[in-house]
């Protein structure tokens, strides 16, 4: 169905999107983020020449995102986007941030020091505590 609505995104990119989302879903289902982060780190070690620009990759991810049956939750979306960007050989970092009183946590993805698929003024209020 996704290719029906996103004719501009290649079949290979669409396949990579579904695989990335499936990996993120699995990571949340087994509740072992440590292993997921290790997997993500190992995937990134094999990054070659980028297949897309970072902005084009994020744009493709966003155009396909409504088709994946999972509500937007920062951890899921950050993991899925990280796996997807890695599959396109684009370097990225998953950042986890927190704030206090009341406690809140958020995570997002950065590519080349810039936010990918999130709002800067929302993320700015969280203090980063981990980079994956």
């Amino acid at each position: 169905m996704a290719f029906v609505a996103s004719a501009k995104v290649s079949l290979g990119t669409q396949a990579a999107f579904w695989l990335a989302c499936a990996r993120a879903s699995h990571a949340l289902a087994v509740k072992r983020l440590d292993r997921t982060f290790n997997t993500l780190a190992s995937v990134r070690q094999n990054i070659g020449a980028p297949r897309l620009t970072a902005s084009a990759a994020v744009s493709s991810f966003e155009s396909l995102r409504p088709w994946y049956p999972h509500k937007r939750i920062c951890l899921f979306d950050a993991l899925a986007l990280s796996f997807f960007l890695s599959s396109q050989h684009i370097a990225s970092e998953l950042v986890i941030g927190v704030r206090a009183s009341p406690f809140a946590a958020h995570c997002w993805v950065e590519t080349g020091g810039a936010l990918a698929g999130d709002m800067s003024d929302h993320c700015a209020s969280f203090t980063p505590i981990a980079w994956v």
Binding site: S101, P102, S125
Partner: protein
């Protein structure tokens, strides 16, 4: 707005005497505007009044649009109210008199910006704009505890009853009709009139109409003022108001950005300054420190007819002093934009398209747009559309359990006509009507009202009607909130504003305020008036206040309602005591009971 109207059966000596006694109880400073055949209309001199020609009546507040009709109809019984609502708008209560048929109509404008309440005393019908005046003239005012329970469950709650027993609300767009005997209520305007049926404005027509009506509404209001204070966050709505003020008026505009650096997510100084610079307006930074907020200030707030979360604003009198020093004659903001431009992100938006008969590729595109807007998978949106097709609707709004502190007792029911209409409207339109109902709280009196009248310029009848005439899925076309508004005003605003879809957050600011006031909150709520009057259970209240509310947003929301309810009950006690003292001192001074203290301005008995 301080006005009081008394209506009784003309010729009834008993009622005439009662009416004069009631009017005398108001005290000094009141002016008689009309004294004619069973109608006595008074106002306190601070109120803005427009006297209509030919004795047609009086308008309290700001009225825009057509002037008064040149002469009233006298040979046929014509109701001028529909014409009034169609050709005029503003923030007003109009008292329209049909002298030929001995009929008095009291109309509250559809935006609900000016309050009007109804009551009865000694056989005399009363209508008035300020609760303090009712307490002054009522023999034994008391709280309506059923209303208090409903308020605590949902603080934006509005219905016919108010916090004062025996006092009813005249709804926006409704008129109280007073013939020679009795009273009836007629509805002339409700949001449903504009949102039902086939959508009246598509994307292109909606853009044009929204632009034209917003310019008219903001311009007309602004032109009454030489110096306007604008609460500017730098977000879309307040920036839009600044752009429209610049475009449509010559008024001097002073922008104010309220910030607290302790919560960076709510500190929008940079955005506000950037926008103000674009429009060449000065922008003041006003630091609002939670450490200086003392909720005890809410205990000296003027009495309103119902409790309101706006009471908490009286905890920070420094803000009001700051605005008073600006020397502006009105304070405005972007309030209302969320409610008018459909900030609500819900899959039910797409269900409205199905209800409007949209099918095929267009329906699929709306489903995708709505999925992008809401962050929900398109499958969830399609499921919601299917539910909409079989006339299912979203759950009714959340009603709090109030941390379990409420005692058993009768509770006022939801009977606001807008609420009833929301239940029969299509799903997203129903939500929009509820949001408009919630937006009425922006007209509540706050501490800022002491500095200058607060008027959310966007919440004007022409803008409200235009937005209601556009389908929700058109307003959010493309999957962006406020999409149509961004398109309509994009050329007026900097790109950074048009693109921005986030807002400053205030959760941590208010958590800090609650924390600083915690000892006082415990003191007033445990064994306070809510417990004393039987609305809340003392032991349950103690248990609830032991809970860690800091990590529970819902608990914090309940606390705000409890504080507002408690302060309102104490303010009622205080106002009643003050009224008694005044009455006693006036009786001692032997003031004549025939209203002799009043200045007679235009009486025509």
């Amino acid at each position: 707005m301080r006005f009081v109207g008394l209506r009784w059966t003309p010729g009834s000596r008993e009622q005439t005497r009662a009416a004069r006694t009631i009017a005398a109880a108001l005290g000094d400073g009141w002016t008689t505007l009309i004294d004619w055949r069973g109608l006595l209309l008074l106002h306190l001199n601070e109120s803005q009044v427009e006297i209509l020609p030919h004795g047609m009546g009086v308008v309290f507040g700001d009225r825009y649009g057509d002037g008064p009709d040149p002469s009233p109809p006298s040979d046929v019984a014509l109701d001028p109210t529909p014409g009034w609502i169609a050709a005029r708008w503003g923030a007003y209560v109009a008292v329209l008199i049909d002298r030929g048929y001995d009929l008095v109509r009291v109309l509250r404008d559809p935006s609900g910006a000016v309050s009007c309440f109804l009551a009865e005393a000694a056989g005399v019908h009363l209508f008035f704009g300020d609760a303090r005046d009712y307490v002054a003239i009522c023999e034994a005012p008391a709280a309506d505890l059923g209303f208090m329970r409903a308020f605590l469950r949902y603080p934006l709650y509005l219905e016919r009853r108010t916090g004062l027993a025996g006092v009813e609300d005249l709804w926006p767009g409704e008129a109280a009709i007073f013939p020679r005997n009795g009273r009836r209520l007629d509805r002339y305007w409700t949001p449903h009139l504009f949102s039902r049926g086939t959508p009246k404005l598509d994307w292109a027509a909606g853009r044009v109409a929204l632009r034209a009506n917003a310019e008219e509404a903001v311009g007309a209001q602004a032109r009454r003022h030489a110096r306007i204070a604008l609460r500017l966050s730098g977000g879309f709505d307040s920036s839009l108001v600044l752009a429209l003020l610049r475009r449509t008026s010559e008024a001097e505009i002073v922008c104010v950005n309220e910030y607290w650096e302790g919560a960076p997510e709510g500190d929008e100084r940079a955005q506000a300054k950037a926008v103000a610079n674009v429009f060449g307006a000065p922008c003041h930074d006003l630091r609002i420190d939670p450490a200086t907020v003392d909720y005890a200030g809410a205990l000296s707030a003027p009495l309103s007819a119902r409790p309101s979360l706006a009471l908490l604003s009286f905890g920070n009198p420094g803000i009001a002093r700051f605005y008073a020093n600006l020397g502006c004659t009105v304070i405005t903001s972007g309030q209302g934009g969320d409610h008018l431009f459909h900030r609500s992100r819900t899959p039910w938006i797409a269900a409205d398209a199905i209800r409007d008969g949209v099918t095929g590729a267009r329906a699929m595109q709306i489903a995708l747009d709505t999925a992008r807007l809401t962050g929900a998978p398109v499958w969830d949106v399609l499921a919601t559309m299917a539910l909409g097709a079989v006339h299912a609707r979203p759950r009714a709004r959340h009603r709090s359990e109030v941390l379990g502190v409420l005692t058993e007792g009768s509770e006022a029911a939801h009977d606001h006509v807008w609420e009833a209409e929301a239940r029969s409207a299509s799903p997203a339109r129903g939500l929009r009507i509820r949001q408009l109902l919630d937006a009425l709280s922006y007209h509540d009196e706050t501490s800022l009202s002491a500095a200058a009248p607060t008027r959310p310029f966007l919440l004007a009848q022409p803008v409200i009607e235009t937005c209601l005439s556009i389908a929700p899925y058109v307003i959010t076309q493309g999957g962006t909130e406020r999409a149509l508004a961004r398109a309509a005003f994009g050329d007026l605003l900097p790109d950074s504003v048009t693109r921005r879809t986030t807002k400053g957050e205030t959760t941590r600011y208010f958590a800090a305020v609650l924390s600083n006031n915690w000892d006082w909150i415990r003191e007033v709520l445990i064994d306070g008036r809510l417990v004393d009057s039987g609305v809340a259970d003392g032991a349950a209240m103690r248990r609830a206040l032991r809970r860690d509310w800091r990590q529970d947003g819902l608990a914090a929301d309940v606390l705000y309602a409890l504080i507002a309810g408690e302060c309102w009950l104490r303010n009622l006690d205080r106002t009643i005591s003050e009224a008694k003292v005044l009455r006693t001192s006036r009786a001692t001074a032997d003031v004549p009971a025939d209203g002799g203290a009043h200045t007679h301005q235009s009486g025509d008995s």
